[in-house]
């Protein structure tokens, strides 16, 4: 059997199979990966914004009035970011899957929760650095005009901060997407898990794993391209 025949054979077995539907399993797996990514992304950004605002409010607190509620919230946020960033993603997944939600059969929700909580810790630090990169004069100008803290944050600070942190946020999204492959350990049938199942049936490792590596790579390249476009668009106000 020649080399090319061998490759062709492996390709057929991996992506078509005796019933001709293996490629569909890969597609279903990819769909699961995407659902986990989207869910975790939303959860991560929401958590990240909340934690970032609590932390910056605490940092920017001035004057003599101490707010005890803020201090407690800030302490919770600190513990959260420290623990999440100080332990491996895989271990967090194992704990969520087999300790916290060991009885749950909604594996996809468990995966979204684990990845979202993980991502939130990193996103919060990114957003915090973005908010702190904005000149305090912007907040002062907004407040001096009689707008409240929330309005100034929403209309003035956050839009400028997002522009500054877009590259870092893009990176975080790419990391998150690649981390979805870890949900395999709690038994969720994502793209990686499908590749492993196919490998167990065909006894061939090369084609399924190289195949999904290519899929991950192409999707990451697409994300990079989209973020690059977005960034150039948001920089328009700098040049005019």
């Amino acid at each position: 059997m020649s080399f090319f025949e061998n490759i062709h054979n492996q390709f057929f077995q991996t992506f078509v199979g005796p019933e001709g539907d293996r490629w569909q399993q890969f597609l279903v797996g990819l769909g699961v990966s995407f659902r986990v990514l989207l869910g975790a992304l939303v959860l991560g950004v929401v958590l990240g914004i909340i934690v970032a605002i609590i932390r910056t409010q605490k940092d920017q607190q001035r004057g003599n009035r101490k707010k005890p509620v803020l201090s407690v919230l800030n302490a919770i946020c600190l513990v959260y970011t420290t623990v999440i960033r100080g332990t491996p993603m895989m271990v967090q997944l194992l704990i969520m899957g087999f300790v916290v939600f060991s009885a749950s059969r909604h594996l996809i929700l468990v995966a979204i929760l684990s990845l979202g909580i993980n991502s939130g810790a990193y996103v919060s630090e990114i957003i915090r650095s973005g908010i702190m990169s904005i000149d305090p004069g912007q907040m002062e100008a907004g407040r001096s005009l009689g707008m409240n803290y929330g309005t100034v944050m929403k209309d003035i600070i956050i839009p400028q901060a997002i522009k500054n942190i877009l590259p870092a946020l893009g990176n975080e999204m790419i990391t998150l997407f690649k981390d979805t492959s870890l949900v395999t350990v709690i038994g969720l049938a994502d793209l990686t898990k499908v590749a492993m199942q196919v490998q167990a049936r065909t006894y061939q490792a090369f084609m399924p794993f190289i195949g999904i590596a290519a899929v991950y790579l192409v999707i990451v390249l697409c994300m990079t391209w989209i973020f690059g476009k977005l960034e150039r668009r948001m920089r328009r106000s700098d040049r005019r």
């Binding site: 000149d135 001096s144 009689g146 003035i156």
Partner: protein, 247 residues
Amino acid sequence: MTEDNVLIRVDHLKKAFGDHVVLKDISETIHKGEKVVIIGPSGSGKSTFLRCLNLLEEPTDGQIWFEDTEITDPNVDINAIRRQIGMVFQHFNLFPNMTVKKNITLAPVRTGLMKQEEADKEAMRLLERVGLAEKAEAYPSSLSGGQKQRVAIVRALAMNPKMMLFDEPTSALDPEMVGEVLDLMKRLAEDGMTMAVVTHEIGFAKEVGTRVLFMDEGIIMEQNTPQEFFSNPQTARAQEFLSKVLS
């Protein structure tokens, strides 16, 4: 002047940053229509004093009244007070992510003072008055320093304030742009706006000011009409300061 002409009353104001006492004990009143010029060496607390007047700095002790409201009361709606006091900063602090027009209309619209179309019209009217109407759709980064500061003044005026605070409005400008900003401030003064101005522009103080406060070491050391103060300063510190800036 009668009591009901008082716009701002400051009573035993103190401000400290940690152990560093910036304002020691300041009591002062500003009446409607006054143009108060605050001068003094750097580190004397002039900017801190000005920033206390709209509570951008929270006083450590003492009271401040704006008309009949004690604004140092923790329960007061400070946003409602700030809407009536415009502020112009040394570094302009325009919002770089918005066009000039949006910079001006944001606060009136967001605080419910005006509808968007109404605010747009008002912004254009004000921009025309300062000769910047053609910059309405430009972003701040494309403006010169003097233009930025004129836009910043317009932005404060759009809220229709009862008073304007100027915190060294010309200190960050190239020399050839100082004039255009001072001209605008003069016109504002002629229109009867109540103003408190921290500045190093002695010429402006002489021409526009109705009263000069000389601050040093966290207190108001001396105050007088500009004519009297600049020709005949009483305290040794004021004499020393003036000999340095006027030479």
